[in-house]
């Protein structure tokens, strides 16, 4: 339910600062992009681009500037451009992030900004990787509601507390920033990886779901949660701020206690 606050004033004195600052500053950067195109060469290499950018620009804007004004062959995925669709996870200055959520001004612009494809998945061209192994792991954890009992006429009831129990893991946008930041995943491509576990968690802890035991059995596999070495890379990489390492720990705990 919405809280009802008093009707706001028809007119207020706005602070002088309201609405933000003045002119947007501009600055020069060097964007160093990892290039790979097997149609041209089996060898990957780095390309540097010097660009004039603005204070509100993101890494995605810099990539677009390269593609649209300098080199149309530079290839990367993107769609929504504000951190919701999960297309543009990449390795920026050695850390997995979304290009559309990383402001250039927050990076050290005195040095070249490096951009590479996410690790652990086969590179197809430039910043584009083959996502199929990632989605394969996702599909294996049965990422859909399997309710028990009879289907009610209206909605299934769920308390606010039960809904909150799995809220964090509903935020996942399947961008693969977490899984491709995981050192275990880099060395063992069979490992389910953090994203699949996050999506299993989302259903295991949903009070409406009845198949938690089956998912726990799947994740109890030798390529399951026990491969996690708790390095926290995944939590740091998540652009949605999901506490992934904690979610994995909760799944481990549930396997041990079989108590959801």
């Amino acid at each position: 339910m919405s809280t009802s606050t008093a009707e706001p004033a028809s007119k207020v004195e706005l602070p002088a600062s309201a609405g933000g600052g003045g002119e947007i500053p501009s600055f020069d950067i060097t964007l160093r992009v990892r290039r790979y195109n097997p149609e041209v060469s089996e060898e990957a290499h780095w390309d540097d681009f010097t660009l004039t950018m603005y204070g509100t620009d993101r890494v995605l804007d810099a990539l677009h500037k390269v593609k649209w004004e300098h080199d149309g062959s530079l290839s990367f995925r993107r769609s929504c451009a504000h951190g919701i669709c999960g297309s543009d996870a990449m390795r920026i200055n050695g850390r997995n992030r979304l290009a559309c959520k990383t402001l250039l001004k927050d990076l050290d612009t005195s040095k070249p900004i490096t951009v590479e494809p996410i690790k652990g998945l086969p590179v197809e061209k430039d910043l584009i990787v083959d996502m199929e192994p990632f989605f394969q792991s996702y599909r294996e954890v049965m990422p859909f509601l399997i309710p028990g009992g009879h289907e009610p006429t209206k909605e299934r009831l769920q308390t606010i507390e039960d809904r909150a129990r799995f809220d964090d893991t509903t935020k996942c946008i399947l961008c693969a920033a977490c899984t491709s930041s995981c050192p275990v995943f880099w060395t063992d491509g069979q490992y389910f990886g953090p994203a699949a576990i996050v999506n299993a968690h989302r259903f295991i802890f949903d009070s409406r779901d009845d198949a938690g035991d089956m998912r726990l059995e799947i994740l109890n596999d030798k390529e399951g949660v026990w491969r996690c070495r708790t390095t926290f890379n995944c939590s740091e990489a998540c652009p949605r701020g999901i506490q992934i390492t904690q979610a994995i720990a909760e799944v481990k705990q549930a396997i041990l206690s079989r108590n959801i």
Binding site: T5, K11, P38, H82, C172
Partner: protein, 595 residues
């Protein structure tokens, strides 16, 4: 030539496409073709909610919802369609809940509901709590839930397959009154596999278009880079009309300068708009429901405040969305994502500072015309057997000249489901239409032409200039002069487009080539929108002509239908024929639209 055969092919894997796929996939052999991965679709960016008269928190019924939808659309809504949508809304929400969607809950454990613009109790008496929601991530949850259920039902996806042509054959036919005509029939689609650059023909008994909107004709837009109106463009090039394209919605609260959406749910939760004088200006424009007036009215009010010198910031070119009187815990619980957008992209802390906002191009009310069974029409009455459309690409028409907030998430679920069922049922009794000779011919010509061009024009430059002129001249305020300016600009862009160059000549992931193809659709659609806007000498819903500020029911209470026709011209634009289609009335007589 690589040919695949399916009963049903669905083009697009956003909300409408996947809702259709869940139905069709369980009834017929179905393939879903998407230019992205399903979970990248822009349904996921929708925030605020999905309206249905569940009456979980206060009295409500579907008839009130129907009325609000009709009035919200300034009476250009087909009322039979609005009634279907409002009635089926209730099951559409319950279906999603049963599929697992994590709605916010009331203390009793039911689906919670909140206020949204234009949704009212008892025909406009006061705002009503009708929008079912999951924080400000309702679209994300819908997209994820539908994808999860597609995984559950083993729906077959072809990811990163760009559909670039619809295969249509024409047969001689005779109407009941004895007149001869050409009956279109659908044979399948031609698609381009991004990974390999290969063309694939999909032969199908039924084709469902669910490929979304065309917001990238504008510069300031909430739409994804990939929303380039491909589906509308393909249909138009195949002689299928486009309905009501002059009506485009500008969402009031885009982040200033960026266009990123801040949900109307913020105002539903109590946020208000203020101008540079700190004034809650919506009190002047919509005295009863104020900041919760429909989007066209709020967007125009904002633009008017800026025009009259009461804008904020160094260039006085935006207004402010004020959440500072709300409890931080309440904002955090109900609007976590949009507050993060304000922090990330503008460096503004919404708990303590008002957020700079300005209208952003958001939604195409028009599209491929369909009836309420989602069957595509080749003229005002004639159905194209086997061709269906749903969601933003379609015009059924439930949104008329202005869509109410939440009604798009509803539209994709109600009509997506209908399309999936109808396409599968049709495929059970129909035969395949024989593929035309050399079905890839057109697409091969299109791509080959772009790849071989040695011109000097850049796609991005033309696109930028198109978007600039559309923002300057085809946005909230329009005049004869501004629209003619757009059309003369587009004419020069079209000339330059013939000289466009694609730098990437390769086969793998050639997005450079596809951006050039997409620009072709954008140019075509911008022209259709603008011709319609120039021809419609009245103001209605999202279409506001300063030189014709009143609604003119006598002349313009009708849908517009634009056809590609090389022998015709409209508003001095060659190649477009504009006709009209009657609006369907059931319960409501047009009234003056006040809030």
């Amino acid at each position: 030539m690589q040919v695949h055969k399916y009963d049903v092919v669905i083009v697009g894997a956003g909300g409408a496409g996947m809702r259709a796929a869940i139905e069709s996939g369980q009834r017929a052999r179905t393939a879903v073709l998407t230019k992205l991965y399903p979970t990248r679709s822009h349904t996921g960016a929708a925030q605020g909610g999905m309206c249905a008269a569940l009456a979980n928190v206060e009295e409500d019924n579907w008839e009130w919802h129907t009325f609000d939808t009709v009035k919200g659309g300034d009476y250009l809504v087909d009322q039979d369609a609005a009634e279907v949508m409002a009635k089926e809304a209730i099951d559409a929400v319950l279906d999603l809940e049963k599929m697992g969607l994590p709605f916010n809950r009331t203390p009793e454990g039911r689906i919670d509901q909140r206020r949204f613009g234009g949704h009212t109790r008892d025909h406009g008496k006061a705002p009503v709590r009708r929008a079912c929601y999951a924080a400000d991530r309702t679209g994300h949850m819908i997209l994820q839930t539908l994808y999860q259920n597609c995984v559950k039902h083993n729906v077959e996806f072809y990811n990163e397959y760009y559909v670039l042509d619809l295969l249509v054959v024409e047969e001689d036919a005779v109407r009941e009154d004895g007149t001869a005509y050409k009956q279109k029939r659908v044979a399948g689609v031609v698609s381009y596999d991004l990974a390999t650059g290969e063309l694939h023909v999909f032969q199908a008994k039924s084709v469902v278009f669910a490929s979304g909107g065309a917001g990238k004709v504008f510069k300031t837009t909430s739409n994804a880079h990939t929303l380039t109106g491909d589906g509308m463009g393909i249909a138009f090039r195949r002689g299928i009309p486009l309905e009501d394209m002059e009506f485009f919605q500008f969402h009031p609260t885009g982040l200033a300068g960026l266009g990123i959406l801040l949900t109307e749910g913020a105002r539903g939760e109590g946020a208000i708009l203020r101008n540079s004088e700190g004034e809650r200006f919506m009190e002047r424009y919509a005295p009863t429901i104020k900041d919760l007036a429909p989007r066209d009215i709020v967007a125009r009010a904002m633009a008017n405040e800026v025009r009259e010198g009461r804008g904020c910031g160094p260039h006085k070119d935006y207004v402010l969305l004020d959440l500072t009187h709300l409890e931080p815990a309440h904002i955090e619980a109900k609007l976590p994502d949009i507050t993060e957008f304000a922090r990330t992209y503008l460096g503004v802390e919404p708990f303590t500072e008002p957020v700079p906002v300005f209208p952003t191009a958001h939604y195409a009310m028009g599209g491929i015309p369909t009836n309420i069974q989602t069957q595509v029409l080749q003229d005002n009455d004639t159905v194209i057997p086997g061709l269906f459309a749903a969601g933003e690409v379609a015009c059924v028409s439930v949104h008329g000249s202005n869509r109410l907030g939440t009604n798009s998430l509803l539209d994709i679920n109600v009509f997506g489901k209908r399309a999936g069922v109808a396409a599968a049922e049709y495929s059970k009794t129909a035969d395949y239409v024989e593929l035309p000779e050399d079905p890839e011919n057109r697409v091969r010509g299109l791509l080959g032409g772009l790849l071989e061009s040695n011109g000097s024009e850049r796609v991005a430059q033309i696109r930028k200039e198109l978007q600039d002129t559309m923002d300057a001249n085809m946005q909230v305020f329009r005049t004869k002069e501004s629209l003619e300016r757009v059309l003369s600009d587009i004419a020069s862009f079209e000339e330059r487009y013939k000289n466009v160059t694609v730098q990437d000549k390769g086969k793998r992931f050639n997005l450079d080539l596809l951006e050039a193809v997409e620009l072709g659709f954008l140019l075509e659609l911008a022209k259709v929108m603008t011709v319609g806007a120039l021809h419609r000498e009245e103001s209605r819903g999202g279409h506001y002509r300063e030189d014709f500020p009143d609604r003119d029911d006598e002349k313009f209470m009708k849908h517009s239908m634009a056809y590609q026709d090389s022998s015709a011209s409209t508003e001095h634009v060659a190649g477009i024929r504009l006709e009209t289609k009657p609006v369907i009335f059931t319960r409501y007589e047009p009234m003056e639209r006040k809030y």
